[in-house]
Structures are given as structure tokens and as C-alpha cells.
């Protein structure tokens, strides 16, 4: 019995998460820990700033000395095999002094190597915006103006209510997810919440959620859960798409509208 309970709890959790996961498609990922979130690399950052930052910049992107994030030696290094000799011997001809074990212990040098690898990894992973992107960066709009847009020009209040479906929405989603969600709440290309009323040649109508629609055929699931499909040439269809207003707004929004609306929705805790 207890096993069964666990199973039920697991399924319940799964179902609980499923709608959110579906809504966000590719967006809802567990953020990867930063390469720098590693005590060894963190210690290396301090050592680097103290010993190397004056020439190479505290973040290793170069100053008087070269950018090390892009450096051949760092990118080819394995556990210090190319970095260690350069640090220990220096590059005297280029003005880089040698750092002997008296100045930089083996432990400290290993930390610096870990820091440099973490920096290159950070650059290589910079092609993404993680879902834990900080609120402070996003929250630049005016909530009052956002409310005015919500109730007025945006037309949001025609379908949504801050006391109803949007109540507490800012507590339910991470800031970046919330911004994406109100801009377009569907995974791109999916039929999502479209419904269709199909008129058959007999004049009979049948309504249901759209399962598939292309320029040749339509498929729906009716209120009893049964699947039906037709060739479009044989029937007439009327589509109801609750996302059409979101699509229309995409070409109307100014960036200020977006940031104001976000600031307003973020108040709905």
C-alpha cells in the first residue's frame, strides 16, 4: 500500500507539473549551475584578481595583457599542463613575470587554473537565458502604466482578470517565465487551446478542441473525448483561438509597453 501511495504522489506531481512544462516548451528548464559556482574556481577568482588581474583584468578578459578567455593556451590546457609552465616561467619577452611557488603555491595555481576554465565555460555557455534570470534586470517598467495598458489599450482585461485567472501569477512563475508567458503563452506551432466548430455537409455541427489543423485536414476531440477528422474540402470550419489577441499584440507592443505590463503583472503576488 505505501508503495502505491508513493506512486500516486509521483503521478500527482507529474500531472501537476505537466501543464506548466507544456506551456513553456523549451523555456522551462532547470537552470544549470554556473561554472563559477564551484569553491575551487571561486577561490581561484580571488587569487587571480590579486596576482593576475592588474594585467589580464579581474575577469580574465584582458587589460594591459591579453584576454585569457579566448587564449589558445587556456583553451588547450588540461589540468594545468599548458598554463602551469607559463605561470611558473613567465613570458619575460612579453613582459610577464614568473610566479614561483613562493608567490603562488601549487594549490593556489590549481585554483587559478580552475577559475580560467570556468571563465571559458561561462563564455561557451553564454548562448542562453536561464529561467532564473534576475528580476532586477527585468523590472524596469512602470507598474501604474502597465495597469493602464492592461485595462485599456492592451485589451488584456477583456479575457483576463487580476482577481481571477491571473491572481497570484507572479508567485507562480519565475520572472523570465512570466515575461514570456504573457507575451505568448503557447509553445510555438502547437494547436494549444484552439477550438473549432465543424459544419458537416448534412448541416450538422460538431465542436471540439483542435488536435491537428493544416491546409488539407482538421482533427478535433469532442466533449466526450472522441477523436474525429475530416478533409477540409468536405466541411466548413469556424475557429476560435484565444491566443489570437496575443499574436496581434506582438506587432503592436512598444518595448515600454512590455516592460510596464511586466512590472504590473509582477505585483500580482
Amino acid at each position: 500500500m505505501p508503495r502505491n501511495l508513493y506512486l500516486r504522489a509521483a503521478i500527482g506531481l507529474l500531472y501537476g507539473f505537466l501543464p506548466i512544462a507544456c506551456l513553456f516548451g523549451q523555456g522551462h528548464r532547470q537552470p544549470r549551475p554556473s561554472p563559477m559556482a564551484n569553491p575551487f574556481a571561486e577561490a581561484g577568482a580571488k587569487t587571480f584578481a590579486q596576482n593576475c588581474g592588474f594585467c589580464h583584468g579581474n575577469d580574465a578578459t584582458g587589460s594591459r595583457g591579453p584576454d585569457l578567455v579566448r587564449s589558445l593556451a587556456v583553451n588547450h590546457d588540461k589540468d594545468g599542463d599548458t598554463i602551469d609552465p607559463i605561470v611558473r616561467n613567465g613570458r619575460i619577452d612579453k613582459g610577464m613575470p614568473a610566479f614561483g611557488a613562493g608567490t603562488l603555491s601549487d594549490q593556489k595555481l590549481a585554483e587559478v587554473v580552475a577559475f580560467l576554465h570556468a571563465r571559458t565555460l561561462e563564455a561557451r555557455r553564454s548562448a542562453g537565458v536561464s529561467s532564473d534570470y534576475p528580476l532586477a534586470k527585468l523590472l524596469t517598467g512602470n507598474a501604474q502604466e502597465g495597469k493602464a495598458y492592461f485595462d485599456g489599450a492592451g485589451g488584456c482585461a477583456r479575457c483576463h482578470s487580476v482577481d481571477g485567472d491571473l491572481k497570484g501569477i507572479a508567485s507562480r512563475y519565475q520572472p523570465l517565465e512570466l515575461q514570456q508567458l504573457f507575451l505568448y503563452p503557447g509553445p510555438t506551432g502547437a494547436p494549444t487551446d484552439r477550438t473549432a466548430i465543424i459544419t458537416l455537409p448534412s448541416g450538422k455541427t460538431i465542436e471540439g478542441k483542435v488536435v491537428h489543423l493544416d491546409e488539407f485536414s482538421i482533427a478535433i476531440r469532442d466533449s466526450d473525448g472522441w477523436y474525429h477528422s475530416w478533409n477540409l474540402k468536405d466541411v466548413q470550419i469556424r475557429l476560435k483561438d484565444p491566443l489570437s489577441a496575443h499574436r496581434e499584440l506582438l506587432s503592436k507592443y512598444t518595448d515600454d509597453d512590455v516592460h510596464n505590463l511586466f512590472a504590473y503583472l509582477e505585483t500580482l503576488k
Partner: protein
């Protein structure tokens, strides 16, 4: 008297051997690439023009609804993004790290070559092969160039094109022109410079290299900041196959976007020759002219899309033309002899430009650059179009391109000196269509919706009055190129992420469509 006899005998033997050798050869004479593709599809785009137009008309508007399957080949692989070569009844095609030779009559595998990538290169895609006589050329995810024997897939040589430890990889289908194999590198995240190389078909030795960023002090270097390492880390990967004009002796190539990708502050200026179309001398690799569709790009809108070559009348004058449907959402027409700009027109609606400057380049709105709080931009970084093949049909005089109307929120995530991408956009909504553009005025003559989502299906047009492509619901489509109306469709079970091609074999026209890991060969029924 013995000697002359022996000489005659030896000469006879030599001639006999030579003719047997010729009979046995299954190779490809580079001169074949100068002809319209009919019994062969000898290079990525079918011929040097990049038009993806076939003069074959056995399959035509009147009978295309009768198409039937000749065979299906299951590669059991990731999605096929290459365009197969067809030479002497054999198809040669790829996915990253893998090359197949398949019988074009039967769809049976002849051989398969698998490359062991010890360095873990980028597996994003591979566009196919180049062929020179009996040899094939193939780029690998860890940025090597490999030459194979076409008869059995054995390796002739393996040369390194770029340093994978620095972030180089390679995906392009090499282009063979005469005694040149044109190859290039790809890169994405790291700040590394791009280049295009010509190598010797026999040995793989470099003949010339053209760097996509000029050296400091050279013309074009003024478009980068001084006293900075930006120009030597500026990206610009020429990752798609170019085109060639044999009379002008010029090769045309589209160049990739600059790095850091989304952070322009550290590389103020136009950033030549990133996001440019360039004309290079085939023998020397010297730059003849350039045109830059996206100066100082910060949205990943490279200009690698095929520079399509055709001749036509523009403003009453006969011209040698070059047209590109560019990733930034604009259609460009140039004079390919001189690089003179003739026309810029939107290929789809976008929101990032405030107008067109005197040189024909869209003027970017600074307000649509990526920002920490997000900037709503159309199109997204995936582009209004991308690597899928466009087509020019000389019968309709229309240029066809698969276009996406899309919106994306662009975030600049890095502070300090930016490295790598330094930001990214998040896709919102997109919808796709085939746009038929008139090069004479830039007007969209017709538009055929492919449905919501980002299509990556390429286009083929033929003298049979048919345009082949695919939609976002897994349908293969044959459209009327004059009107965009559907002539034939079939649900192929997945979206096409490649470009269709065609050839004639044993008197029969074959149409090839690659859908995910499956290759379908279509023909007319035997009775026809």
C-alpha cells in the same frame, strides 16, 4: 622488327587499359558542374548558379498528382540535412560523422563511412559532399576535411581545417570548381575568426585562404575598433556553400555574423566582412567586391544564405544578377559583375529597421538591440529565413524563399567585456510561408502559408512547372510556381529539414525528399 611490334602491342595494351579504366570509372568530371543538372545532381545546389532549378520536365504540373514511391531509404540517423549528390546512379549524402553511398535505382546501401570524432565537435548538421573525379570531400564536426574514395568510402587523407579546442567545427558541403576544393569552418559560441579556403583536390594542401576579417590596416579594418582585439576575434563563419560564375571567374559566398554575437559595444563599427556577400577571385581568393546586408549585426542574422545567380533585365538593362533572401528579412538584388546594389525589399514583415540607406542596407533601430530587460524583435535569431535552399525559376522569373514571420524577446545577459554569445533571444510565436518575389520590383507575387512554427524546408523548381517543398505539418508539397496553388501533397510523417533535388536515371525522373532520417525517391508510375 621486333621492337616496333612490341611497341604497337604495348600501345594497344595501354589503350585497352585506358578504355577499361574509363568504363570502370564512376567519377565526376568537374566540367559536369558547368551544365544544367539533368542526369546528375553533382554538387550541393545542383549547379554553380545556386538556382535549384532543374530543366527536367517528365514530372510536371499535369502529372505530379500521380507521383509514386520508387523506394525509401532509412538512414536510422539524426535528421538528414544534406542534399545528396547523384553521380552515375549512386547517391552520396551525409549526417555529421557519417557518409552513405546508396544505389539511386533501388535505395540499397552500397557503403557507409563513419568518422570517429575524438574531439567531440558540434553535431548541429552536415550539408553534404563535394566530388572530384573518383574522390569525395567531407567536413567533420571537429573541423577536419576528409577525402574518400567514392567507390568504397576508404579514406584518402584527413586534414585539419580548424582548431576544435577553440570552438571551430565544420558543416559545409565543399564546392568543387576546376582544380579547387572550396571549404570553410563554422563556429558559434566562441570569439574566433572565420575563413574560407581553397585546397588541392589531390593532396588537400591549401591553395589560398581568405579571412572573413581583414588584417589591421587593410581596407575594411576601419569598420572595427582600433586598439582592441575585436577584429581578430570577430566571428564571420562562411558556413554555407557558395556559388560560381565561370565567365567572371568569381566565387560568391555569404558570410556569417560577428562575435560576440549579441553584444555590439565591444566591436563598434560595421564589422566587415561579417554578414556580407562577397565576390572572390577563384585563383587567388582576392576580394573583388562585397555588399553587407546587416552592418554591425547583434541578432545572429548571418548572410550565409545562397547567393543565387541568374541573368535578367533590370530597369531595362540586361544584367548578370545575384539575389539573396537574407536571414535579416530582406531580399537583395545586386549586379554580380560589379557588386552594384540594385534592389532591397522586405521578404516578410519585420520590426528592426527604420529604412534603407543609400547603399541599400537596412538601417537598424538601436532600440531593437538586445537589452538586459528584453527587446521585442521580429524576426528572432533563427531568422526570417535560414540555410534552407531558395530557388529561382527562369520560367516564372520569380525568386522563392521559405520565410518566417516571427517574434522573439532578445536579452543581453553579460556585463563587462562580453564574450561568446553574451545573450540570447527567447522565441515567442512564428509562422512560415513560401514567398514568391519578383526581382524586378521586390514585390511578393504570392505567399503560401506553411503553418505556424519555423519551417526549414528548402525549395526546388523544375521546367515541369512545379515547385517542391514541405510544410510544418509533415506534408510534402508540389505548388504551382505561378500561383502558389497546391498541385500535390502527401503526409511524409515528419517535417523536411533539407532541400528537395531531382535527376534523371534510365530515362526516369526521380524526385528526392529527405524527411528526418528517411529518404523518399518519387517517380511517375511505370505506365507513364
Amino acid at each position: 622488327m621486333i621492337w616496333p611490334r612490341m611497341l604497337i602491342f604495348r600501345n594497344l595494351c595501354f589503350c585497352l587499359l585506358l578504355s577499361v579504366g574509363l568504363l570502370a570509372a564512376q567519377g565526376l568530371d568537374p566540367a559536369k558542374l558547368l551544365q544544367p543538372p539533368t542526369d546528375t545532381w553533382p554538387t550541393y545546389n545542383g549547379d554553380y548558379s545556386g538556382r535549384r532549378y532543374s530543366t527536367l520536365s517528365q514530372i510536371n504540373a499535369a502529372n505530379v498528382h500521380d507521383l509514386t514511391l520508387a523506394w525509401v531509404f532509412n538512414a536510422n540517423s539524426r535528421a538528414l540535412k544534406s542534399t545528396p549528390l547523384e553521380v552515375n546512379g549512386i547517391l552520396y549524402f551525409t549526417v555529421p560523422n557519417n557518409v552513405w553511398a546508396v544505389d539511386a535505382r533501388t535505395g540499397r546501401q552500397i557503403w557507409k563511412y563513419t568518422y570517429e570524432d575524438k574531439q567531440g565537435g558540434d553535431l548541429i548538421g552536415n550539408r553534404g559532399l563535394g566530388m572530384y573525379h573518383n574522390w569525395l570531400y567531407f567536413e567533420t564536426p571537429d573541423a577536419h576535411l576528409i577525402s574518400l574514395e567514392a567507390k568504397d568510402g576508404t579514406v584518402r587523407w584527413n586534414k585539419q581545417l580548424g582548431d576544435p579546442q577553440l570552438g571551430y567545427f565544420a558543416t559545409m558541403a565543399p564546392l568543387i570548381v576546376g582544380e579547387h576544393v572550396l571549404v570553410s569552418v563554422s563556429g558559434d559560441v566562441t570569439d574566433i575568426p572565420g575563413y574560407l579556403e581553397s585546397v588541392d583536390p589531390e593532396t588537400g594542401d591549401m591553395q589560398w585562404r581568405w579571412n572573413t576579417e581583414p588584417s589591421p590596416g587593410e581596407p575594411g579594418s576601419e569598420s572595427w575598433p582600433r586598439n582592441s582585439d575585436a577584429i581578430t576575434h570577430g566571428g564571420g563563419m562562411p558556413w554555407m556553400t557558395g556559388t560560381y560564375d565561370p565567365e567572371l571567374h568569381l566565387v560568391y559566398w555569404g558570410i556569417g555574423n560577428p562575435n560576440p554575437v549579441m553584444a555590439g559595444d565591444v566591436r563598434q563599427g560595421d564589422n566587415l566582412y561579417t554578414c556580407s556577400i562577397v565576390a572572390l577571385n577563384l585563383d587567388t581568393g582576392k576580394l573583388q567586391w562585397y555588399f553587407q546586408p546587416s552592418p554591425h549585426d547583434v541578432h545572429d542574422w548571418d548572410a550565409v544564405q545562397t547567393p543565387v545567380l541568374f541573368d535578367g533585365t533590370f530597369d531595362g538593362k540586361p544584367r548578370r544578377l545575384l539575389a539573396q533572401g537574407s536571414r535579416n528579412g530582406y531580399f537583395f538584388v545586386l549586379d554580380r559583375a560589379t557588386g552594384e546594389h540594385l534592389l532591397t525589399a522586405p521578404l516578410i514583415s519585420t520590426n528592426w529597421a527604420s529604412g534603407i540607406d543609400q547603399r541599400g542596407r537596412p538601417i537598424a533601430k538601436l532600440t531593437k538591440f538586445p537589452t538586459p530587460n528584453g527587446s521585442l524583435v521580429s524576426p528572432g535569431s533563427d531568422g526570417a529565413t535560414n540555410w534552407m535552399a531558395p530557388s529561382f525559376d527562369p520560367q516564372t522569373n520569380l525568386f522563392y524563399v521559405n520565410a518566417r514571420r516571427m517574434f522573439s524577446e532578445f536579452y543581453l545577459t553579460e556585463a563587462g567585456k562580453a564574450e561568446g554569445w553574451a545573450g540570447r533571444d527567447r522565441n515567442l510565436w512564428s509562422t512560415s510561408s513560401i514567398q514568391a518575389l519578383d526581382y524586378r520590383d521586390g514585390k511578393v507575387r504570392w505567399s503560401h502559408s506553411l503553418g505556424d512554427g519555423e519551417s526549414v524546408a528548402g525549395i526546388l523548381t523544375t521546367a515541369g512547372g512545379v515547385l517542391f517543398t514541405g510544410d510544418n505539418s509533415g506534408n510534402l508539397l508540389a505548388l504551382n510556381p505561378e500561383t502558389g496553388n497546391v498541385l500535390w501533397h502527401v503526409n511524409a510523417g515528419g517535417n523536411m529539414v533539407s532541400s528537395p533535388s531531382t535527376f534523371q536515371l534510365d530515362g526516369r525522373q526521380y524526385l528526392l525528399t529527405l524527411v528526418q532520417g528517411l529518404m523518399y525517391a518519387w517517380v511517375l508510375p511505370d505506365s507513364q
